[in-house]
């Protein structure tokens, strides 16, 4: 049995157990923290930084998804500073690549768009990078549009941890980072992709979709992936 501990979140005392992340304790206690890279059942990697929290005694902000709770931890999840940082993070997603929602398959069914609304983004205060990003439509059934990718790496993790194929990976750093298929080959030439479509369903944006998807009409079923993970007892 893990040790029982007491922590406080936003001033409220909470009894919980060692070994859990701040995010999972928050979920159990109905405290909503915005997340983009977290996906239920996949390993957390702390990529998007939206879940950043303040922990008393640390001068750095800590991601709730990858930070484990410890005895007497005092956590703040919604200070003014955190709210402003979250808005900045979302604005940076929009300024880094090309999000023309009006012609995007994911329009109105997009976690990034919803997040922009949630954090109160009304415009992007940073200059747009206007980087030219590739669209790879070489796969017979699917498309990856790097313009819409936010590097959450959910696709990488679901492909490796659930499908066991590990087609996806990441190359480069910073704003040059890209998701790659096999060793940076066209997706259509992949030897590892099983065409299962799991990555399409966990992608929070309009970066991964099936051919034939129309603007604003993308269907995604992330809950089916969560279901599968639970049934198979992964982790």
């Amino acid at each position: 049995m893990p040790d029982k501990i007491t922590i406080s979140i936003n001033g409220t005392e909470i009894k919980t157990e060692e070994g859990k992340s701040i995010l999972s304790v928050c979920k159990e206690n109905d405290i909503h923290i915005p997340v983009m890279c977290h996906f239920p059942g996949l390993t957390d990697v702390g990529a998007c930084r939206l879940c950043l929290c303040e922990v008393k005694g640390y001068n750095k902000l800590l991601p709730a998804c990858t930070t484990l709770v410890a005895e007497n931890m005092e956590i703040q999840t919604h200070t003014e500073k955190l709210k402003e940082y979250r808005r900045v993070i979302v604005e940076m997603f929009f300024s880094e690549r090309n999000h023309m929602c009006s012609i995007c398959v994911a329009n109105t069914n997009c976690e990034l768009q919803d997040m922009a609304t949630e954090v109160g983004m009304q415009h992007v205060r940073f200059p747009f990078l206007n980087q030219e990003c590739a669209v790879d439509a070489s796969h017979p059934k699917y498309v990856i549009d790097h313009n819409r990718c936010i590097m959450c790496t959910r696709c990488v993790r679901v492909c490796s941890e659930v499908e066991g194929a590990h087609n996806w990976d990441v190359k480069n750093r910073g704003y040059n980072a890209r998701v790659i298929s096999d060793f940076d080959q066209p997706w259509g030439e992949s030897e590892t992709c099983t065409s299962c479509g799991k990555c399409l369903n966990v992608c929070p944006t309009g970066a991964l979709w099936a051919k034939g998807s129309v603007q604003g009409k993308l269907d995604k079923f992330p809950e089916k992936i969560t279901d599968l993970i639970e049934k198979r007892g992964i982790h």
Binding site: D114, Q122, P127, F128, N130
Partner: protein
Amino acid sequence: MKKKIATVWLAGCSGCHMSLLDMDERILDVLAVADIVKSPIVDGKKLPEVDVTVVEGAVGADEHIEEIKHIRKQSKVLVSLGDCAINGNISAMRNFYTVQDALERSYADSDTNDAPQIPGCEDILTLDKKVVPLHDIVKVDYYIPGCPPTGDMIFYVLNEILNDRVPDLQKEGGLKNG
């Protein structure tokens, strides 16, 4: 005293102004408290001092820069109307190419064009290298997102501003109205 409104379009497709008309009969509620003193749907006078200017479209040419600066000077409240004004949107898609390539693609290599000719004379705009949102050039007070925004959203914002209230777009569904 009645307030004064202006509406302007820069690098946009006029779709946002179509949505403005989608306010339908509610435009009468707007006209009860304000006069539209300049607009592409009225006529082309010089912009006088106004209470509110609603601007559709991005900034894509020197002329646009001058115009938006002038608008800012003349307007108490400046509203960015639609995704092109707010983030460049479709108008900014030429940012990934040179101006020359974009012109060639539109006027010379276009599949539907049987008399290729890139227009060029001093009476028409000279395109800038990059298309940018309005707030890159001037201070913007309110943003109405959407491509195009709905008539409902436009009416809501105008009505709030004209009645000296602060519009809360968060409540009205935020970005989610592509």
